[in-house]
Amino acid sequence: MTETQNQAAPSALNETAAVRLRRSRFERIRILLSRAPLTAWFGMIVVSLYAIAAVFAPLLAPYGEAEIFAKADDIWSSKHWLGTDQIGRDVLTRLVYGARNTVGIALGTTTLSFLIGGGLGLIAAIDRGWIDQIFSRGIDVLMAIPSLIFALMLLAIFDSSIIGLILIIGVLDATRVFRLTRSVSLNIVVMDYVEAARLRGENMGWIMTREILPNILPPLIAEFGLRFIFVFLTIAALSFLGMGVQPPTADWGSMVRENAKWITYVPYFPFPDAMYYALKPLLPAGCIALLTIAVNFIVDWFLHETSGLRDV
């Protein structure tokens, strides 16, 4: 803050105002990171590891995604660090590719739901008339049906291709994004600067993207993180039920389902092998859990930073 203090005649230039130091983006990020709590760091590291695994899956994985080896249900060895699955595919390879598929689908779905829900929510908030009524009541109808059951039904009617999966979950999830966007936008729509833009004769597109969107971005970004996780869990649940990602595409949800049976056999194996069979379904489940926790840590931190609730 530079405080301009001048005892001379009052002038507009000399009025006291809190002017922030001009910092480069790099410097601002450095300050932000230096204040980040341990949990946020944990979250960021985990998410980056997942991102690396997803992007570089073909380089990191020891074998091909659907490569089949002679011995099925093999336990860990130097050749297959995490053993092989029921038809002889390398489990470590499947886990790495799973990061790419599961996370990729979740990201696509969340993005789609934000485009649909966010767009419609903004239009409804600006309109506040019959368009708003049609959208809102339509969304209410969609939300009245339990989404997992609804998704199962739609997937049974259409097919469970990856595109179909993204479209169906994206649309179903857009309902919640719509409600959030609409309610936070309503607070902004009543601002004088939005009225000023309307008086200027600006079109809907400008008001949506330039006047309102920048001001509702923090809650939307936070919601993006949480929605991403929920989509992720929905896909895992659908895969577990056999309606999600179809083989041979590697996916953590399907891997949990395929390996769940081993849990019951654990007591019948001798000690070191028992450990392996217990881990088999827990590994993909753990991948899901770890990402969920990591993203939540980041979202918490982000919310704390943007909400102004932070203590000095």
Binding site: A12, A17, A18, R20, L199, N215
Partner: protein, 548 residues
């Protein structure tokens, strides 16, 4: 202080108070070595512009600093207790009971889910000295003393069921209920209409006198402080400018700064008649949903002149502006601009019609998108209406900034890096960028300090002289009207009560409503409120309860 202080009656003694606030990674001084003493039953007026630290100092008297602020020096001695070093738990036993606080916005300080009476006695109930029934009766008695309507039952209402002025008085009752030694009033009447303000001021003053309560009265309105305070302290940049007994201070201020504060209200412009009617609205009726808010309103605005629309909140001033701009299409009547009828709906108007009528708002904070820089804000109308882009646009923005007495260094700033007056200037520049014929100014100075108001009014006047812009100036402040207008329109309950040249309207005789409005404007005379109340009592009929 004029009289020798009686040591035994000393209630509050603040010595060398220094407070710092944290922002932008550093601690900044907010209050610098300020002393403040207060005796039992004494009212101290604390005045200064926004940012002068008056609220911070007022809260410091309770041993309290806002989050992000800290005491860096000094002692707060309240009746022998050292508040600045007490922990929060001990302070809580004093707050609300021995020292209470009345905030500017009563509406934001009440819990909307509880009845007024329960909230009024909450702090005293915590004391546990008197039974609930006794407290309730006492609160009703306070309501009566504060001239609230239906004192017996008003406490059963919820905050949204009473008017702003009533709520402010209930809040005073709440502060008074535990019979505190000290009450801090933080701009308690700033958000009220002048007619309501008179009521609240006289109630507060009577009550404080009756219970011999000491009070710190924080305000930026000099005329108000002149009525309320025994002693006035002027603050600037967190430091004391001067302090004196009220009458001495008003008649003979010592410091130049104080003198400049005192002279602001004397701004006056000679009226000029205009014959070339630029905008004319005729027989306008308008409604929000089914409730009709404008009845047969007709106003003429001559080219290059200023017409002030005066009235209290709810009188239909802003609605008239909404009809002119097309935000609220009228039910009947016409808006004629340069001999041509304007389409009632905004979306049916041409870009050129929109460009020629611009608007400036009361709250510059909410009138600018907080995510856009000053360059974006002023640049947009240039691009939108005049097709200026890139270099040309930037050059024009800087020209406009200089026109409003700022400079190119403001180009990259965000709205929250500007002071209140600077923000309003940027809004003026945005309106100016469209090169309009008319600017509608909706209470543009009422949220600003007086000294800043003067700057804005002078600027608007200069722009009018230079570019011949006509202003439709909506305001409730008569001093502003004197300073800027050629003609005046008085509105009340959606109707035009009186319309004419400034001097004609401001000189008697007035219709009843104009009389009430004009007489309620505080003057810088410590006896003004007494004289006014005596006059009104004598006339009897003109009680202001009808307005509330």
């Amino acid at each position: 202080m004029s009289e020798a202080p009686n040591q035994s009656s000393l209630l509050l003694d603040m010595k060398n108070i220094s407070i710092e606030g944290f922002s932008d990674e550093r601690w900044h001084p907010i209050i610098n070595n300020v002393d403040l003493t207060l005796h039992r039953g004494e009212v101290l007026g604390l005045i200064g512009e926004s940012g002068a630290g008056k609220s911070t100092l007022g809260k410091a008297a309770m041993g309290y600093t806002q989050p992000g602020c800290r005491f860096t020096g000094g002692d707060v001695l309240f009746d022998g207790l050292e508040l600045s070093r007490m922990n929060v738990r001990d302070l809580r036993s004093i707050w609300g009971t021995r020292i209470s606080y009345v905030a500017q916005s009563a509406a934001a300080s009440f819990n909307p889910a509880h009845r007024l009476l329960d909230q009024t006695i909450r702090a005293s109930k915590r004391l546990g000295e008197r039974s609930e029934q006794v407290l309730k009766n006492d609160a009703i008695d306070l309501f009566r003393r504060l001239n609230l309507p239906e004192p017996e039952t008003i406490g059963n209402r919820y905050p949204h069921q009473v008017s702003g002025g009533q709520l402010q008085r209930v809040m005073t009752a709440m502060a008074m209920s535990p019979r505190p030694d000290l009450i801090i009033f933080d701009e308690p009447t700033t958000a009220l209409d002048v007619t309501t303000q008179v009521e609240v001021l006289s109630s507060i003053r009577d009550l404080v006198a009756q219970f011999n309560t000491a009070a710190i009265y924080i305000t930026h309105d000099l005329a108000v402080v002149a009525q309320m305070a025994d002693r006035i302290k002027v603050l600037r940049f967190g430091e004391e400018v001067e302090q004196a007994e009220t009458r001495t201070m008003l008649s003979a201020p010592e410091e130049d700064y104080t003198k400049s504060l005192w002279s602001v209200r004397s701004l006056e412009k000679p009226e000029q008649a205009g014959d070339d009617v630029l905008l004319s609205i005729a027989n306008i009726d308008a409604a929000y949903g089914s409730s009709k808010v404008l009845h047969d309103v007709s106003i003429n605005l001559p080219r290059g002149r200023t017409v002030a629309v005066v009235g209290e909140s709810g009188s239909g001033k802003s609605t008239t502006a909404r009809v002119i701009t097309g935000l609220l299409p009228q039910l009947s009547g016409s808006v004629t601009f340069e001999g041509e009828q304007l389409p009632p709906k905004l979306r049916d108007r041409s870009k050129d019609q929109l460009r020629r009528i611009q608007m400036i708002y009361q709250m510059a904070d909410t009138a600018m998108n907080p995510r856009q820089t000053v360059g974006d804000i002023i640049g947009r109308p240039l691009e939108f209406y005049l097709g200026l882009r890139g270099r040309d646009q930037e050059r024009r923005v800087i020209e406009l900034l200089e026109m409003i007495e700022l400079d190119a260094s403001f180009y990259d700033r965000l709205p929250d890096e500007l002071s209140g007056g600077q923000k309003q200037r940027i809004c003026i520049a945005r309106a100016l960028a469209a090169e309009p014929d008319i600017i509608i100014c909706d209470e543009v100075t009422s949220a600003l300090d007086q000294i800043v108001q003067e700057g804005i009014l002078n600027l608007l006047q200069r722009l009018q002289d230079e570019f011949g812009i006509a202003y439709l100036f909506i305001t409730h402040d008569i001093a502003t009207v004197r300073a800027i207008s050629d003609e005046i329109v008085v509105m009340w309950q959606g109707k035009v009560v009186e319309q004419g040249m400034k001097n004609e309207i401001l000189s008697p005789p007035h219709p009843d409503y104009s009389e009430l409005l004009l007489s309620s404007v505080p003057e810088m005379d410590p006896d003004w409120l007494d004289t006014l109340l005596a006059q009104r009592a004598a006339e009897g009929s003109k009680t202001i309860k009808a307005q509330d």
